[in-house]
Symmetry: C2
């Protein structure tokens, strides 16, 4: 296994800067550990990575030409500056931040907030009182959710950030109309525009037009960046900055990962190699499910963000030589140790159709130690003096060992710590991994044609003008009899 | 299709009591709607249900004999009374309730709390000030989670409910030792026992012994009820009652569903028929993933509870005629409309390996209407006068129609409202469905042998006495080289 031992040594004996770097341990995805039926032989992996080195080179050429939108974001100074100016202006003015957005307009922010500012969604005193506003993300057109938020905030001290790339997302518009009415009732029409910020495609769409008419502050999303790749645009930066996340560190982490992946050959490029491994496990070993198993309660948001990224980018229908092909791994969110008591039984003894991706955090803040045992007992004496962090790490390692011995292929991303820098790295790493995976599957990872049909059907059901034909089509497809018990 | 039209009519023209009943629409799981490749022919379903009627009869006989633990819980007066007495005693004494539990000791409570008392986890003024304490569920041995809870509560006004059936769950014990030390520091050793309630198997285990020694209040879990089937025991009832959930209504709903399922033949028994449909979709149509697609943000906890129930009960390794067989559908949590912008692309155009289970709520509280549009526009004029509830229902229906036209089999549970009664129905319905499914797969749905290996490995890694052999075994299995980049 040429190079492998020194790879590991390189990583483990790395410099200070390197120690902030996310690592990737793919040992247990190899046939040597889980057998040829479920794992990839190292030689096959190396050959495949080498044979597909051209994907990497072509992608980086397109990237350098500026053809790929999301890769430009970490170094786009303009967004950072524009957001910083607004942060200065808004400082201290708001106790509540309400974000109206769904899918790619919400999940990136939630990932950052849960990992870096977990206290932002449940302020210990309302109004937050602190420097930063409390955050409410309204990501569903659910009356219970909307009214619970309306009941908790003082609209006089609230900033509403409505986010929709198209400016026409049905759920976001519906919620916006409700919040806007409530806002006008609370602060009056004259002042209401100071409480609204719109993030959308500049120059087009309903929200853009309305913002121009009403004088709402506007932030742009580049046309060539899709919602799920937009964390490092104002979509993520503005609300993340408002709740106090260090944007410079976040972007520095992303830029660092970009340069790292750009400068490395296929077998050392963490985004590319992890994409290749998932691709091979899916296509050649039948691992149609990827479990994203993050070992910290703080990383549930990140796991959900990744779930969207991987699912929506790669879940595609294709026509290949006249035949319909359906592709895409199904990503499943799992949190350790919590889901060891919920899903691990299935992962270890159910169908061997899963690739497990662990996310391990080497150092968690808040070292809490188990100081004493109430009465000496073999159930607890080995815990005395241990920190919760040690217990958590041992449990993750035990889960990895147990899945490996059951021939379940798994890999581990090693996060040195949870910080804006490492979150920046990780988010960029996964965006790039997904983009590379699109090339491997030979699909377009940036569109989502499959949700259009549902949207048109919803318009028809809600009686939108111009959807009469669709209505008739729906009626024709109705079952002659419904089976309900 | 004999009987089917009148089934639907029965349901739709039902009485007041019946109108609180959960319904099940399985039209779109049938071959008539999604084709024979992906759907079950009605005749095949009917034949299979009839041929397996004996499962139902045998199960109900065992149930009547008291052999099946969980089915006894809704009518066990003893637990209800014991819990009620404690609720009276504890009333007004605590501002915070901390539940230490994991898996089946936490998920049922979270399901109830998120659906019925969403405000309980983010009190608008701390101390809650209201009649009921604020709830913190610590379901991970994560130092960030534990310290964030410790930072938010006043231990002088806190009740800690530690829940573990075995009395020996590693994560729960570790967290308990940390909280206990903090509690003793805050209130003194003399008084600390008034702040701790233990729910565990009476008569055995570490927690039982400790509770006896220290004088902690004890609640029992019957030996023949597993954690994931224990919502209607003190595991769920005690903390749910403390935060103000109506236990009588909850249990009445469960009992109602029990009697309904008990009295009906296979094709009208909602738990049995839904189990049969999932089983046939899995085994005969290759739907190895079941998406639990709940249309309300309030039902995420319920979806996660169901995910554990289905995964841990049915994900089993078997030896059949000398051959290893792995069974179990992989359950995936999805929330509508949120995940239409995250997972729907994959559900509709990715691999056709999923059965979609919708959960629709006919009436959500908090009717919010869209009162006006800022400027008349075709993007918004059809929304004017609509309630958010109408938009939500139209979106669910549109998703159903679009998945059906893509030949993706789906079924819908219809929840008349979100209330303690209907949650009681639903939880019992799914427990029974899972138990029936165990009979269909011919596996034991009540054990979880696959997590034992991981537990022993964790003990060995943490240096517990008596695990020296295991440690050596682990060392032997270590890869000669790790592959880390």
């Amino acid at each position: 296994m040429p190079g492998s031992a020194s790879d590991a040594e390189d990583f483990l004996s790395s410099s200070w800067m390197e120690r902030r770097r996310v690592g990737y341990d793919y040992t247990n995805s190899l046939a040597a550990m889980v057998g040829e039926k479920h794992g990839v032989p190292y030689e096959e992996l190396e050959r495949f990575a080498k044979d597909n080195q051209h994907i990497l080179e072509e992608f980086h050429k397109r990237e350098e030409k500026g053809e790929i939108g999301f890769t430009q974001l970490p170094s786009t100074v303009e967004y950072r500056e524009e957001v910083s100016r607004f942060l200065l202006k808004a400082k201290g003015k708001f106790d509540y931040l309400v974000v109206l957005g769904i899918g790619g307009s919400a999940l990136g922010l939630v990932a950052l907030q849960e990992a870096l500012k977990p206290e932002a969604t449940s302020p210990s005193t309302p109004p937050a009182g602190g420097v930063f506003p409390a955050l409410y993300v309204v990501d569903n057109v659910d009356p219970s959710l909307v009214s619970s938020v309306l009941n908790r905030i003082d609209l006089n001290r609230t900033l509403i950030n409505v986010i929709s790339k198209s400016g026409a997302t049905l759920e976001t518009l519906a919620n916006f109309l409700v919040f806007r009415s409530a806002l006008i009732e609370a602060v009056g029409y004259q002042k209401h525009s100071r409480h609204i910020v719109v993030t959308t495609t500049l120059g087009e769409g309903y929200l853009f037009e309305l913002a121009q008419k009403e004088g709402y502050q506007l932030f742009g999303i580049p046309l060539n960046v899709g919602g799920r790749f937009s964390v490092f645009s104002p979509v993520g930066l503005l609300p993340a900055g408002l709740i106090g996340i260090d944007l410079m560190e976040l972007l520095a982490g992303a830029q660092y990962m970009k340069e790292l992946c750009h400068s490395r050959p296929s077998m050392k490029n963490i985004s590319f190699l992890s994409a290749v491994i998932q691709y091979l496990l899916d296509i050649r070993k039948g691992k149609g499910i990827q479990v994203f198993f993050a070992y910290s309660s703080l990383l549930r948001g990140l796991a959900r963000w990744y779930q969207q990224l991987w699912a929506e980018s790669l879940g595609k229908r294709l026509n290949r030589n006249g035949e319909e092909v359906f592709c895409g791994q199904t990503p499943l969110v799992s949190i350790g140790t919590t889901d060891q008591h919920s899903l691990l039984q299935l992962f270890g003894e159910g169908p061997n159709n899963k690739s497990i991706t662990f996310l391990e955090v080497s150092h968690l803040p808040d070292q809490l130690a188990i100081e004493e045992e109430p009465s000496p007992h073999e159930m607890t004496d080995y815990l005395k003096g241990k920190s919760l962090q040690e217990v958590l790490l041992a449990e993750r390692r035990a889960t990895e060992l147990s899945l490996t011995s059951n021939a379940r292929p798994n890999t581990t991303f090693i996060l040195p710590e949870i910080s804006p820098f490492t979150l920046g790295e990780l988010i960029y790493l996964f965006e790039l991994q997904t983009a590379y995976a699109g090339e491997l599957y030979q699909i377009n990872p940036y569109d989502q044609p499959g949700v259009e049909e549902g949207k048109r059907t919803a318009y028809a059901l809600l009686g939108r003008r111009g959807y009469g034909e669709k209505q008739k089509e729906i009626e024709k497809k109705m079952p002659p009899k419904r089976h309900i018990i």
